[in-house]
């Protein structure tokens, strides 16, 4: 009986068969018959069977496993170089490939190079509390970054937003707003941050505008109360009250109107004024 090479060979995948090295010569010897032409039915069967046997012999000497482990080693070096910045060099190529340094059993994750992925990631947030000589500095955390964006400084008792709220509450005058803005721009940007500065300036501008508008409204009301909103009068309130006589510490306008300046006002003077007002009441 001769063998026929299967027509679906190469389509079913492969198995990884553990074979004790001590048994390799025996198993290889048992397969040796497949090397002969008479084992196969046709020339095509013989050619394919011969090739399959040669490839099996090659795998039996663990060459294929060596390829697999070499691929894993290449993957390790790729990750090591990218993440930690390790540098590998080809030391020898003949007779075998030797790469230095050898892959360690335990990787050193404590010392990534500055231009490695881990090094760049650690440097991204910056360091804080470095002191005069940079000792004891710590990497900035997300909380630190959020605080900076919030423009919150641990050493101040009043946040910038609280100050802005006070301004919007119109409890401060223009001088206070100006002083606040000047102090804001003079302070270190570590606390405020660009976003916080822009927001504060916008709030200040809005607050000033609101205060100006309210002040204008109040003035308009006052003027309308005095002259009814009509044409501007040719005289003023003081002239109407005192006439042309300048004011003095001893002169009382009310007394002058009631008893023509004849000393202190008496109850009789008050009665007289009331009677006169009653007379003209219906005609107003």
């Amino acid at each position: 009986m001769t063998l026929i090479y299967p027509n679906d060979a190469g389509q079913r995948g492969c198995i990884l068969l553990p074979l004790d090295i001590a048994l390799v010569p025996i198993i290889a010897g048992q397969l040796a018959g497949l090397r002969r032409r008479r084992a196969w039915t046709t020339e095509s069967d013989y050619s394919q069977g011969y090739t399959a046997l040669a490839e099996l012999y090659i795998c039996m000497t663990s060459t294929c496993v060596a390829d697999l482990t070499a691929a894993v080693d290449r993957l390790y070096r790729l990750i090591d170089a990218t993440v930690l910045g390790a540098s590998y060099v080809v030391q020898e190529t003949d007779p075998v490939l030797v790469i230095y340094p050898p892959i360690p059993n335990v990787p050193d994750t404590l010392a990534p190079t500055p231009d490695s992925l881990l090094g760049l990631l650690r440097a991204l947030p910056g360091v804080l509390d470095g002191g005069w000589f940079g000792f004891g500095s710590r990497p900035a955390t997300l909380a630190d970054i959020v605080d900076a964006l919030r423009a919150t400084a641990p050493e101040t008792t009043t946040t910038l937003f609280e100050q802005a709220r006070d301004l919007l509450g119109q409890t401060s005058d223009v001088a206070a707003i100006g002083n606040f803005a000047a102090g804001l721009l003079d302070e270190g940007t570590d606390v405020v941050g660009d976003a916080g500065t822009a927001l504060m300036i916008a709030l200040l501008g809005a607050s000033q505008t609101a205060m100006s508008q309210q002040l204008a409204l109040r003035l308009d009301r006052l003027i309308a109360a005095l002259d009814g909103g009509g044409a501007a009068p040719s005289d003023n309130v003081l002239t109407a009250l005192r006439g042309s006589t300048p004011a003095g510490a001893e002169r009382n306008v009310i007394d002058a109107l009631i008893n023509n300046g004849a000393g202190a006002v008496t109850p009789a003077d008050i009665d007289r004024v009331i009677a006169e007002l009653q007379q003209i009441r219906g005609t107003l």
């Binding site: 290889a28 010897g29 040796a32 013989y46 090739t51 490839e55 090659i58 039996m60 000497t61």
Partner: protein, 157 residues
């Protein structure tokens, strides 16, 4: 080695399927081309004489050792050195066997001690040099590079 008389060998099959081989010796000193030409001519002549069909033809040049030396103690024809080569065309291979492989050619230590052949051994290097570019696999693919070398134990084959 002393050259022997070259010969032409035919394999014939009869109507029942039985096979037989026959040798026809060629004049000593004939070149391979002359012997092949003679074999082709003779085949046509024999075919006119025999009802059998020709299956196989070979031209064989032999040489013999006039005084065979003593084999090394422990030499075993069934302990075969197996050499697997890549051939010139990718995906093609050649398997060459050397019977009675010497123990000193095997790796002395490591997991493959006594199983794999030391490819750095000068004898192995010389073997590869003698094969590459000159010999081929049974399908005509020239031998290129050595891929694997190990011991094979054949029993009852």
């Amino acid at each position: 080695m002393v050259s022997q008389q070259p010969y032409v060998e035919y394999l014939l099959v009869d109507d029942s399927g039985s096979l037989t081989t026959r040798r026809y010796h060629v004049v000593r000193g004939s070149s391979i081309e002359q012997a092949q030409s003679a074999a082709t001519s003779l085949r046509a002549t024999v075919a006119a004489l025999s009802g059998c069909s020709f299956v196989h033809q070979a031209v064989v040049y032999t040489a013999v050792e006039p005084t065979a030396g003593d084999p090394l103690p422990g030499a075993d024809v069934w302990r075969v050195g197996t050499f697997v080569f890549d051939c010139a065309e990718p995906g093609t291979y050649a398997i060459l066997l050397v019977p009675g492989i010497r123990d000193e050619l095997l790796l002395p230590d490591g997991p493959w001690a006594g199983r794999a052949i030391n490819q750095e051994h000068p004898a192995v290097v010389a073997l590869v040099a003698a094969l590459v570019g000159t010999f081929c696999n049974p399908f005509g693919q020239p031998i290129a590079t050595l891929r694997a070398a190990f011991l094979q134990v054949q029993v009852g084959l």
